[in-house]
Symmetry: C2
Subunit: 387 residues, 2 copies
């Protein structure tokens, strides 16, 4: 049994003072339905990824809320959560629900409304993704956890401060083409290096922003896929876990969860890293993109910084990474990001993504990470139906 994605929807990622979480979710769902040219009544089940609406806006029970707002009652509606990897999990559960034979057409969505809380409260809420007893309680924040990883990577592999900056520069350059991005502005290495120090060595322009936004995709069974114009196929999917607390891990310069998830996804897809045309990876902080490039097997461990410096990740490079702008430029509404990445891969593989189109993209990979890597999800997609 094969499963395809036939519709995608994304709100603008932004500070949406005039829209609530339910407005954003409904908008993304409606866009996905319109994209697939189907009616809401065709949807048989709904999966929603959201990290922390309980704390951001005092609202749990996000599955039923989304079904309610979208007029999809009484279909089943299930919220999945794994911090910033929440919607990639929702996507996987939607995929499994079709593979299981229970449904033929399912919506997977993601949402987060982060700006209703003031900044420091938002940072505290985000630390719910880390280890409350070992990390949050002593004042660690995510930028400081990733700063530890960055410092270790620099010491162990000679990764430079400039190479970190080049990650952000590349993402912002790509994001200038993206109408849905929160910060579609070019930046320079010098600007990154002069931006305020947040947690040494990471600076403001190494960090993805706080964002409101929602996303949705529609998955269908093989049987139904033939009715749609440009179905994009799921070739492989992997998910893995690691310790919540960073200090419990053997290594601070790689994510074992990414490696395990990627291994599973590559095996299922029958592909190797060299076969992947484009990737959306989780650049919540610049260092994470470098680690991701290595852990996904695009280059040798420790050579990620050089890989970036050599321009290989550029849109026109040999391994385009985050060709639509990444979390850094597009924004990072945590529960929505996983499906935003998938949605961008789908649009690229359809081959009609306008200014954002990467030439000849036939296979694409999305890597969504929760917390400092306690969850990683890798999904691989293809333009051609797998045998």
């Amino acid at each position: 049994m094969r499963v395809a994605v036939v519709g995608v929807g994304q709100t603008k990622f932004d500070e949406h003072w005039e829209k609530s979480l339910r407005d954003l979710s409904t908008e993304a769902g409606a866009l996905a339905l319109r994209d697939a040219r189907i009616d809401g009544r065709d949807i048989q089940s709904l999966y929603v990824g959201n990290m922390s609406a309980g704390r951001f806006i005092g609202q749990e029970h996000l599955g039923a809320l989304a079904a309610d707002q979208a007029g999809l009652i009484p279909i089943p509606a299930t919220r999945c959560e794994a911090a910033c990897a929440s919607s990639a999990l929702a996507f996987r559960e939607a995929y499994f629900s079709i593979l299981s034979g229970q449904y033929d057409i399912v919506m997977a969505a993601g949402s987060e409304k982060m700006t209703d809380l003031k900044g420091t409260d938002a940072i505290a809420t985000l630390m719910g993704a880390g280890d409350q007893e070992w990390e949050s309680a002593i004042g660690l924040t995510f930028v400081s956890l990733y700063a530890l990883m960055a410092r270790r990577h620099m010491e162990k592999y000679g990764t430079t401060r400039e190479q970190l900056a080049m990650v952000s520069v590349n993402n912002h350059r790509n994001g200038t083409l993206n109408e849905l991005a929160q910060f579609p502005k070019e930046i320079t290495v010098e600007q990154v290096l002069k931006s305020p120090l947040i947690s040494d060595p990471l600076r403001l322009l190494d960090c993805s922003p706080i964002t409101d936004g929602a996303t949705a995709v529609i998955l269908v069974s093989e049987r139904l896929a033939k009715k749609f114009e440009k179905p994009i196929w799921i070739l492989g999917s992997g998910q893995a876990s690691d310790t919540l607390a960073l200090h419990h891990r053997k290594s601070m310069t790689e994510l074992l969860s990414t490696k395990a998830a990627a291994k599973k996804a590559y095996e299922q897809a029958g592909l190797k890293p060299k076969d992947i045309d484009i990737s959306e990876v989780h650049d919540c902080f610049s260092i994470n993109e470098i680690i991701a490039i290595e852990d996904l097997g695009f280059c040798e461990k420790g050579k990620g910084g050089k890989f970036v410096e050599d321009g290989k990740i550029a849109r026109e490079g040999e391994k385009p990474i985050n060709p639509t702008g990444g979390l850094k430029s597009i924004g990072h509404p945590v529960g929505a990001t996983g499906i935003r990445q998938i949605s961008d891969i789908i649009k690229q593989l359809r081959g009609d993504y306008g200014k954002l189109q990467v030439k000849d993209a036939k296979t694409g990979l999305a890597l969504n990470i929760g917390g400092s890597g306690a969850t990683a999800v890798v999904n691989i997609f293809g333009r051609d139906k797998p045998k």
Copy 2:
């Protein structure tokens, strides 16, 4: 493809001042492994139901946390949430993941640590299950929502205050036999009627308590089930949604979500209400058990109160409901309850549940409800392998 449950584990439900959420989760998981006589390394994927650890204890990312604590890394770990129905959803996703062919042996777990917050904050947190904009914001709490349903049921169908009390009396009577129950004490109708008024007509002893606890079950594919001693089979599973806000519904005396979920589960099981030997239903407030009895088709709509008064729901009655004590006596750690209900059905169907055993129980049903009914999940189990 058939799926069976082969292991169950539950901590005592209580105020656990000396144990954290992670302690409780690990304990329940270990008990389920021991019950199934397998090793943690045999588990291929983990699903965790939890409603609101983000607000109760400042911790999201519960899937990875549980995998971490239990030493199950790097397997996939997915948290599901639908308020008080969270762990029934985790159970269903575990079921689907096996049906999909991805895994052969999966753990589904549930947990909630509620007593770390003071009472009023816990009540506010629980209202995350309701509609934040239409209900929580104007001060409605869950007891007041269910009080509205109770009042309407009394006016429309003549359900009496005493009949509501009899629900609690029956559950507490059953709970005296349950070593894991938070309140294993008999109560009388008079005591219920004299207990403090919380939200007219509901009194303190109509309400399930605030509780800490965790639960876990192990599901296996048909292929593996033969290796286990007393596999109990999943015969049918249904899930449905309704509006989050009570006032948006056509009726306040029935839950359309329960009806839709039950219809699906009965159809899949090829069973009718009369074929169900025992049930665990969601008696978060006494009125909800009466509505559940009706919506599940055990009696005509409006006759639930009489059904209770006639003693049909007693352990030795014609339709034993909550024979292990219900949420009222056992306690209601919201994210753990769905799998606690399933676990109790499994133990009954195995036929060796000691003092709690209901005679000749061959089929059992668990109804888990989220919020005021925006989510309902019905799972039906059988001792005999379905054809």
